[in-house]
């Protein structure tokens, strides 16, 4: 039986939220509060971020990379907590499609996360203790608003491009809707203008798993020295299935046994796929805060771009000058091609310049993170074309 690792020291997880390693930090004091959709302000707050490459003298080559639900700002290079490589090594780096020898890449940790930007695991300055459930509920628009404040701080008026997949893609769409003149090119990958009922349902199962863990302590686990590892691991296991596909699971695991010749007539991890999921759950809890998981899944659930425009998505992109590259994957059942097509229809209705490709793969939703040659060629070609139109030189 795979055993969950023993409870790790709570202060370490808490300290990463306040003082992240290998990160730049932008601090926003009482004079610059973050106004939230929930109707309250977050102040003071901080944004942890990383940059790759160099900003050109015209300050015109910045690319904002938006991370997904459980991602963070460590896009490439060794992750300070897990020791593993970054989440988008295939896409970002010297000579990669998002070429750091050409573009200045910025990736901030989102508000509500747990890797250095203010979130429920951060210290609440009023109490000196972790926020926990006192942290206000945040939205995708709040994340984007905070990112815009970061760009103001960095004195970057317009972004050459905003790119991201899944929840990152939601931020990309929100950027294009909220700040159309600050975004030259937008790449929402494997994303949607609204979270579907099925996706909200999956998220609710994950949240209930976290909250059903007695160690969650009504969200006060950090203060009480507990850790809802089992609940969060189960939430991750369930979610992880939705990131893959039936075909990918079959190809990878089939009905293969884990280190045994036959079934054991027990509830051990007889099958490889069980062992794999348990491993996914265990490694996740070592790097992620349970309350953050609640807040970020909620932000995705609340996302509905059309709601701000009388229910018509096209209203969000009216007269958009931003050029878009929308990509979906055939086996993605979480953010299916029909979702991307809806984005494209809305953009076309608004007269926007849009490219849309559906890529054949059995790798499911996670395909946007993986080495998909066609995806890489498309992003590279799209950015090259946009760079020409923007007058960016081929290489610095």
């Amino acid at each position: 039986m795979v055993e969950l690792s023993a409870a790790r020291d709570v202060p370490a997880r808490h300290s990463e939220a306040d003082s992240p390693r290998d990160s730049l930090i932008a601090r926003f004091g009482a004079d610059r509060p973050l106004k939230l959709d929930a109707g309250v302000s977050l102040s003071p707050f901080q944004i942890a971020y990383r940059t790759y490459g160099a900003l050109n003298s015209e300050r015109s080559n910045a690319v904002l990379v938006c991370h997904a639900l459980t991602g963070d700002h460590h896009v490439v290079g060794t992750h300070p907590v897990t020791g593993k490589s970054g989440w988008w090594e295939t896409m970002v780096g010297p000579g990669k499609p998002i070429d750091t020898e050409r573009y200045f890449v910025i990736c901030p940790n989102v508000v509500g996360a747990c890797m250095g930007t203010t979130g429920p695991a951060s210290t609440n300055p009023k109490t000196g203790k972790p926020w926990g459930l006192d942290f206000p509920v945040i939205t995708i628009r709040d994340m984007v608003r905070a990112q815009a404040m970061l760009l103001d701080e960095l004195k970057i008026e317009t972004l050459f491009a905003v790119a991201g997949g899944s929840m990152g893609g939601m931020q990309v769409l929100q950027w294009a809707a909220s700040y159309p003149r600050r975004v030259f090119a937008a790449l929402p990958l494997a994303s949607s203008t609204r979270h579907s009922a099925q996706n909200i349902a999956f998220h609710e199962v994950g949240r209930q798993a976290v909250m059903a863990d007695p160690e969650w302590r009504q969200g006060r686990y950090l203060v009480e020295g507990a850790n809802p590892k089992r609940g969060l691991a189960v939430a991750r296991m369930g979610a992880h299935i939705t990131y893959l596909s039936d075909a990918a699971l079959h190809r990878k695991f089939g009905r293969k046994f884990q280190d045994r010749e036959n079934v054991t007539f027990s509830f051990d991890a007889d099958f490889e796929v069980e062992s794999y999921l348990r491993h996914q759950g265990i490694t996740f809890v070592d790097r992620f805060d349970a309350n953050s998981y609640l807040y970020l899944t909620r932000a995705m659930d609340y996302f509905d771009l059309a709601a701000d425009y009388d229910g018509v998505v096209a209203g969000a992109f009216k007269g958009a000058e931003t050029r878009f590259c929308v990509v979906s994957f055939t086996s993605d059942w979480l953010f299916p091609t029909s979702d991307s097509r809806a984005i494209v229809h809305a953009l076309n209705a608004g007269g926007a310049r849009v490219s849309f490709a559906e890529i054949v793969t059995d790798k499911g939703h996670d395909a946007f993170l993986l080495d998909e040659p066609e995806l890489l060629a498309i992003v590279r070609g799209f950015l090259d074309g946009a760079a020409r139109a923007r007058g960016l030189s081929a290489r610095r």
């Binding site: 490219s355 559906e358 060629a377 498309i378």
Partner: protein
């Protein structure tokens, strides 16, 4: 002797069948119908050859729709604004007058509802440009009339059972569709087997017999 000189002429025509930049003559012909700097939608844009030509020679703001995934991905990787979509179903999503020109190059015969497609083109664009293979060409008439079988030519190489082309028409037929769809014919060109435009003042029956392809520039009545 007369025969010989004819062959010679045809050879030079073959040479000239590719215009500047190695582009197909029918595409060059379409490009010449498009005003510089216009907003263009190319329906069924294939690998993006026409969009590339239009942006290089006419400086247009070009968009494309392509059914085949391979075509789309190739276009997007070239930096063209192309989306995966179907002329039969997806034109309905575009607002009126969104483009100056909507182009349907060698695709009309593969649509399920040519009339609906043409009417959408005229709605979305101020102009529509349609090019299609002429089913009234004498070689095709010979194969059907005397040979008694479905025609195959260099331009239309498919056997009847695997052809994507389900709505063939002749130049004469297409003019009827234009009338039925309230389209004004602003310009029409027929190309012979070697991609050379037929004599401008030739009568329609002559075009319908000797034109292998036709290109029409249309607008709303």
């Amino acid at each position: 002797m007369k025969m010989l000189s004819r062959v010679k002429r045809d050879l030079t025509m073959t040479e000239s069948a590719r215009g500047s930049g190695g582009s197909r003559v029918d595409l060059v012909l379409i490009a010449e119908m498009v005003a510089p700097g216009a907003r263009v939608l190319d329906v069924g844009c294939g690998d993006g050859e026409l969009l590339r030509l239009l942006s290089e020679t006419r400086g247009v703001d070009g968009r494309g729709i392509e059914l085949s995934r391979e075509g789309v991905n190739e276009c997007v990787a070239k930096g063209l604004a192309v989306i995966q979509g179907d002329a039969d179903t997806d034109l309905a999503d575009y607002p009126d007058d969104a483009f100056d020109y909507v182009i349907l190059s060698q695709t009309l015969q593969a649509t399920r509802h040519p009339r609906v497609v043409l009417e959408h083109m005229l709605r979305i664009g101020r102009h529509a440009i349609v090019s299609f293979p002429n089913f009234g060409h004498w070689k095709i008439r010979l194969q059907v009339g005397l040979g008694g079988h479905m025609p195959t030519t260099d331009n239309l190489p498919y056997a009847w059972w695997d052809t994507p082309n389900i709505h063939f028409c002749s130049i004469k037929d297409f003019r009827l569709l234009c009338q039925a769809s309230d389209a004004r014919m602003e310009k029409a060109v027929a190309l012979n087997a070697w991609g050379t435009p037929l004599r401008f003042n030739a009568p329609w029956w002559f075009w319908n017999l000797f034109g292998e392809q036709a290109v029409f520039l249309l607008s709303r009545l």
